[in-house]
Symmetry: C2
DNA sequence: AAAATTGGTTACAAATGTATAACTATTATA
DNA sequence: TATAATAGTTATACATTTGTAACCAATTTT
C-alpha cells in the first residue's frame, strides 16, 4: 500500500518533470518553425486522429471553451486547412474536418516539430534508442488510456442557470 | 540505419503525442488549483532544483526573455516566495533563491498538481504501475540529459546590433 | 580613461489564451 | 404549442506570454 503510494507519487513526479521540457521544446518549435499557435496545431492534430469532430467535440478534446473553438476554427478555415460539414439530420450540428491541404500541412508541421527532438535523439546509441522507444510508447499508451475521459468533460460555455 | 531512423521518428511521435495530454492536465490543474501561472510555477521549480539562479539563469532555464523574468520574479517577491541575493564581487549580478515559505508553497503546489495524475493512476494494477514508473523514469532521465543544453542558449533580450 | 560588454530593468505593443454573458437557430420534451 | 435543452456564434474583458527597444549600473577590455 505505502509502496504503491510511493510508486504513484514517483510517476506523478516524473510526468510533472517531463512536462516543462517537452512543453518548451514543443511550443518554441511551433512558434518559431511554423505559422501555427500551439492551440491551432492541437486542433489539427485532434482532427487528424479523429477524422471529423463537432465544434463541441473539438472543445472537449482540447479542453478549451466553445467560443475559443470558434476562433480557432475560423482561423483554420480562412487558411483552407479545415472545412465545415453540415449535418443533414440535425442542422444545429457542424462537423469540422481536415481538407487535403490541411492534412498535408499538418503532417509537414508535425515533422518539423519532431525534428527538434530527432536532432537530439540522434546521438543516443541504438540500445538507448530502443529502450526510449519502448518507454515512451508505454507512457503514451497509458496516458492516452487513463486520460481519455477528460475528452468527455463538459467545459463548454453555458448560460448561468 | 533506416531502422534507427524509424525508431527516432517513433520516439518523436510519442513525445509529441504525450505533450498535449500532460500539458492540458498540468496547466488546468495549475490554474484551477493554485494561485500560480505555469510560468511562475516553473520558476519556483527551477529554483527548487538549482538552489539559486541569476535572473539570466532563470531566463535560460525557462526559455523566457529577460524582461519577462523580471516580471515573474517581481510577482514572486511580493508574495515573499523568493528573495534577492546581491553578489559581493560583481554587483551587477543578482541571485534569486527560494525563501522557506517559497519552498513549502512549492512543494504543496507540486503535490496538488501531481494529485491530478495520482487519482487516475490509482486504478492501474501494480504491475502496470511498476512498468509505468520505469518507463517514465527513463523518459525523464533521457530528456533531461539530451535537452540540458537548451538551458545555456541565450534567448535574452539584447539591443539590436 | 574611453569604449565595449554584461546583468538587469522599464516601458510598451501585440499575440494568445481564458472566462462569461447574451444571443440565434434548431431540436427535444412536456 | 409552449418550454426547455442543445449546438454554435458574437461580443467583451482580462490574464498571460512574447517580442522589441531603450536604458542604467557595473565590469572588462583596449
Amino acid at each position: 500500500m505505502s509502496e504503491e503510494r510511493s510508486i504513484i507519487d514517483d510517476i506523478a513526479d516524473n510526468l510533472v518533470a517531463i512536462f516543462p521540457i517537452v512543453a518548451k521544446t514543443y511550443t518554441k518549435a511551433v512558434r518559431s518553425k511554423t505559422e501555427f499557435t500551439p492551440a491551432t496545431l492541437f486542433t489539427l492534430g485532434a482532427l487528424f486522429h479523429h477524422g471529423k469532430l463537432t465544434m463541441s467535440g473539438i472543445g472537449n478534446h482540447l479542453m478549451v471553451p466553445k467560443p475559443h473553438v470558434t476562433v480557432l476554427v475560423d482561423k483554420l478555415i480562412t487558411d483552407n486547412l479545415v472545412e465545415r460539414l453540415y449535418d443533414e439530420s440535425d442542422r444545429r450540428i457542424i462537423y469540422i474536418q481536415l481538407t487535403e491541404k490541411g492534412r498535408e500541412i499538418f503532417l509537414e508541421a508535425k515533422k518539423i516539430i519532431g525534428k527538434e527532438f530527432r536532432d537530439r535523439l540522434e546521438d543516443l546509441d541504438i540500445d538507448a534508442k530502443r529502450r526510449l522507444l519502448d518507454s515512451s510508447s508505454n507512457v503514451k499508451e497509458v496516458l492516452v488510456d487513463i486520460m481519455k475521459d477528460i475528452y468527455t468533460q463538459n467545459n463548454n460555455c453555458v448560460k448561468k442557470q
